[in-house]
Amino acid sequence: MLGFVIQRLLQACAVMLVMSALVFIGVYAIGNPIDVLISPDANQQIRAEVIARYGLDRPLWEQYGVFLWRLLHGDLGRSFVFGMPVLQLIMSRLPATLELTLAAVFAATLIGIPLGMYAGYRPESPLSRVIMAISILGFSVPTFWVGILLIFGFAVELGILPAGGRGETVSVFGVEWSFLTLNGLKHLFLPALNLSLFKFAMMVRLARAGTREIMLSDTVKFARAAGLSEGVIMRRHVLKLISIPIVTVFGLELGSTMAFAVVTETIFSWPGVGKLIIDSISTLDRPVMVAYLVLVALLFIIINLSVDLVYAALDPRLRRARA
């Protein structure tokens, strides 16, 4: 087990190095940030000075080396546009994204799994058909379009929920949270609903597919023969058996939901990191783009690593094979 962990950790570091290089080179191919940094009427001397200050006159590999060195010291550079350290900028936006993502993923899981299990348990019932129809819609309809419909329905036509922003926040340990105030919750509801729909569809499908297969298995036959009630079989046996793929997906989806939050945040003007990255793409704010992408890559590598480890812990077959 320890060997497995070390091997995975080394792999993760190698991947991180490659990713950071790709991101760095990729982002540096975009436009010329000097035009953003310096006002057009600045003279030649000021231009040269600013270029030298940001190290933009050095060769690319050297810039990358400096970037890596600083990265190892927790310094992700300064934003060209906001004029503050990027890490600080991202950290100030992160709670909003985290709040939105967690609300969406938990809602999707807590509602999606029971409904999916029901759809797998009684595949032919009318309710199951309705559940599956909703999940097909959730899968097919692009997130941004659902967001627009939600705004149109609830904010424009009905006028009962706000169309954008975070609303009132409460400060806990120096971090602002929306979900602690009624007004904040109102602002959170639509974006979270929007973001959760795709995950909801996925959870329903996973739970349904798993349940359908397991209902035909010997485990369920024996459990029934032993006289266990259907409810107990579903809770104790089926739920446990379908939980392995669901845990994997839950972990992976947490990351991809954060990525998808880019779209939802843009529509609902939710001041999180997703909106920040879209804004920095349009203003060519390179340090923010690089930092965001490197952090997202890191996040995914950590998520993959922990899913692998949880998997090994959950599934005795994997444990034995690697021991």
């Binding site: 097919s140 941004f144 627009i148 149109f152 880019v262």
Partner: protein
Amino acid sequence: MELVGFSAFWRDFRENRVAVAALLVVAAILLLAIAAPLFTPQNPYDIGKLDLMDARRPPGYVGSGGYAHILGTDAQGRDLWSAILYGLRISLQMGLIAGSVALTVGATLGVTAAYLGGRSEAFMMRIVDLQLSFPAILLALVLSAVLGQGKTQLIIALVTAQYAYFARTAHGAATAERNKDYVEAAVSTPMPTLSVVFRHILPNCLPPLIVVATVQIANAISLEATLSFLGLGLPATEPSLGMLISNGFQYMLSGRYWISIYPGIALIVLIVAINLVGDQIRDQLNPRLKR
């Protein structure tokens, strides 16, 4: 074998009325998109034909062209019905091209990896797995930001974001085929390796790839719309559906719903119909659900 297989397949397909209806919808949309100039009163990309006096008119308004704008007009005075059909054209074009290129690249990679085996297989599939663990939307987002706006750039972004799904599927199917007797037999003949891979192994991997392809074409269309909505997709001179929706979004809060809603409905109908067809094909090809 081909013909018998197809007619049997069609017989099963016909049983699902929803899937048949979806197939008809897809066919109708394809027809409307291909023959768009025949069904539209206006070429929405011809700026000379646009009149700002007609801008943002509600559905049914009779504009300076002397005909009724049945779905209203957008902020540039474009007839929305025309803009939607032309937008469908672009969306379908992007989806089909990106889907086929991704299918070709991914399938070649997956089958080759399965055939080669050993270290090169492990290396290739490790990269694919790694890419699969990143969300496609993020890759596409970054790439279109890096490459800039344009059709070719968009296709590159979509293909890079999607080929890995095909590679994984093709690899899985090809690994199963690799150890079968007919492949052993083909390898033992003096036939070149490439023919064994592409004429014997690849055709047998097609069914799962077709399923992935239908889903991925729908995904490509939706991804393109999302990118265009975020302002990173195609240039504004030839608006795709996503761009039309995006342009209308700012007017929605003032109650001019039609600029966003109608292109959106067209997009949804297209994507849902493709997915329904894909779902039925998948169920038919899934051996686990066969009784």
